[in-house]
Every structure is written in structure tokens, then in C-alpha cells.
């Protein structure tokens, strides 16, 4: 009887070790896949970019003077203190990794007044496609008055690619 029990114990301990190894392999796989995957911060970047642009267009709650002028459109990057230069990897410098599009509408007629487009417009068609490898797009709109109480709607589209450093 004791002998039988002993045999059974040995079988259980082998079985126990097999389970342990399976559990360890599963944990190791999960840890490697979790820590091997890069942190995806593109959505946070797109939010920061949108906030930066919105902050640049308004001043104490009103539309900043001169925003609709040609000069502002042409010197948008300098006026809003933006620099879309990226590190020289994965051919990133040849193909821009950002895109910003701002559309100004007359709030009452909904007619387009002006628009600003900067950096790599080729990223825009990828918006709306599902999948991690596509760029992250963020579209926000807000209502604003100018000092003469004219009403505007501003739509900001921010796109961040940088796929290779954020997705595996």
C-alpha cells in the first residue's frame, strides 16, 4: 500500500514539474512579448500636437490676430514654434513623419475660409484604416470668436507616423 502511494507521489511530482514548466514558459513568453514591444506614444504625441496648434491659434480665448492672413499661413511653423525634423533612421527624413491640417470655417455659413497644411500630406489617406501599423490620426474641432465677434469653426487634423519606433 505504501509502495503504491509512493509511486503515485512520484507521478504527481513529475506532473507538477511539467505544469510548472508550462506556466513558466507562458510567463516568460508574456514578459518577453510585453517588454519587447515598444511603448506606443503616438496618440499622446498627436494630442500634444493638436493642443500646441490650438494654443497657437488662440489668444486669451479669441482667435489670434492675423491667423487668417497669408503671412501666418506661410510662416506657420515658425509662428507656432513647430519643428518636424526627425531622427535620421528608417528613411524618416525623406518621408515626413507628421502632418497637420487646419481648416477654418465661417460658423454661420459653414463655408471654408482658409486652410493650412504642413509636412507629409501622403499620410492622410491612411487615416481611418484600422491597424497598428498605420499612422495615428487625431481630429478635433472648436468654436472661436475673433475680437470683432465673428464666429469661426476650426478643425485640426494631426497625424503622427513613427511606426517603426512605436509598433513591432
Amino acid at each position: 500500500m505504501i509502495l503504491k502511494n509512493k509511486k503515485a507521489d512520484k507521478i504527481i511530482s513529475v506532473y507538477w514539474f511539467a505544469i510548472l514548466f508550462i506556466v513558466a514558459a507562458a510567463i516568460a513568453y508574456m514578459v518577453i512579448s510585453f517588454y519587447g514591444e515598444p511603448y506606443d506614444i503616438r496618440e499622446a504625441e498627436a494630442y500634444a500636437l493638436t493642443n500646441k496648434v490650438a494654443g497657437c491659434l488662440s489668444e486669451v480665448g479669441y482667435l489670434k490676430e492675423g491667423v487668417l492672413n497669408e503671412d501666418f499661413r506661410e510662416n506657420f511653423m515658425e509662428k507656432c514654434k513647430l519643428n518636424f525634423e526627425v531622427e535620421d533612421v528608417y528613411n524618416w527624413r525623406e518621408h515626413g513623419q507628421y502632418y497637420v491640417e487646419i481648416n477654418f470655417y465661417d460658423f454661420s455659413t459653414n463655408q471654408s475660409i482658409s486652410s493650412i497644411k504642413k509636412d507629409n500630406e501622403a499620410l492622410k489617406p491612411d487615416c481611418g484604416l484600422k491597424g497598428k501599423t498605420f499612422p495615428v490620426c487625431l481630429e478635433r474641432s472648436f468654436y472661436i470668436l475673433d475680437k470683432e465677434k465673428n464666429q469661426y469653426q476650426i478643425n485640426i487634423l494631426s497625424i503622427v507616423r513613427k511606426t517603426e519606433k512605436n509598433v513591432q
Partner: protein
């Protein structure tokens, strides 16, 4: 009878020791992956890039990097050189071979230096440009 009891006890002890060894290896593996230099380099490069994206001139930002500093010390790295900002790219390098860089879009003029009073945090100062 005494011998049989002795055998059972030895087997149980070996079984428990093996389990403990096994679990210890697993825990060491987990912690080594969590605190790996490459992971921390990426984490801090991206964190600093995001901070700089939202930063405004004359801001002073303090960032706790105690875990990264421990690794840099083990690797005999000069603590003044583990973070560098050139043009608009942040680079964090905790080892001689390695490092991780990430760009930010905010056109500002930041400078970064080790806080001498705490030796576990870095100070980022955004100059007026």
C-alpha cells in the same frame, strides 16, 4: 520503517527546494526584464520627448530617474552624459553600446542637467527663444 520515513522526508525537501529554485529563477528573470537598460532607455527617451512636446519657455521640469541612474552607475557611465538633446532629438544612453533616441516637434531650446542635491533626478530647463 525509519528508513522509509527518512526517504519520504528527503524527497519532499528536494521537491520543495527545486520548486523554490524554479520560482526564484522566474522572479529574477521577471525583474531583469523589467529593469533592463534597453527598456529604461526607451521609456525615458519617449517620456522626455513627450514632456518637451508640451513644454513652454522658462519652464523648469524635474524628472526622477533613480532606476536609470543605478544602471548607468553599474555601467560606469558619466551621469552628465546619459541624456543628450541635439536639435530636436532626445537621446538616452545608459550603456556604452546602446542608447535610444526619439524626436519631439516643439521648437524650443531645452537644456538638461543632473540635480546635484538629490542625485536621482534630472532638471530640464526650457530657455526663452
Amino acid at each position: 520503517m525509519i528508513n522509509k520515513k527518512g526517504n519520504i522526508l528527503t524527497e519532499n525537501i528536494i521537491f520543495i527546494i527545486l520548486n523554490l529554485v524554479f520560482l526564484s529563477i522566474l522572479i529574477i528573470f521577471l525583474f531583469s526584464k523589467m529593469g533592463a537598460a534597453a527598456v529604461l532607455e526607451e521609456k525615458y527617451a519617449k517620456q522626455i520627448a513627450l514632456i518637451l512636446d508640451s513644454a513652454e519657455p522658462v519652464m523648469i521640469i524635474s524628472i526622477n530617474m533613480e532606476d536609470a541612474i543605478k544602471i548607468a552607475n553599474k555601467e560606469n557611465r558619466d551621469l552628465n552624459n546619459i541624456i543628450s538633446i541635439q536639435d530636436n532629438v532626445v537621446k538616452v544612453q545608459l550603456r556604452e553600446k546602446g542608447g535610444y533616441s526619439y524626436s519631439f516637434f516643439n521648437d524650443i531650446d531645452p537644456s538638461i542637467y543632473l540635480n546635484r542635491s538629490s542625485i536621482k533626478e534630472y532638471i530640464i530647463f526650457i530657455d526663452y527663444n
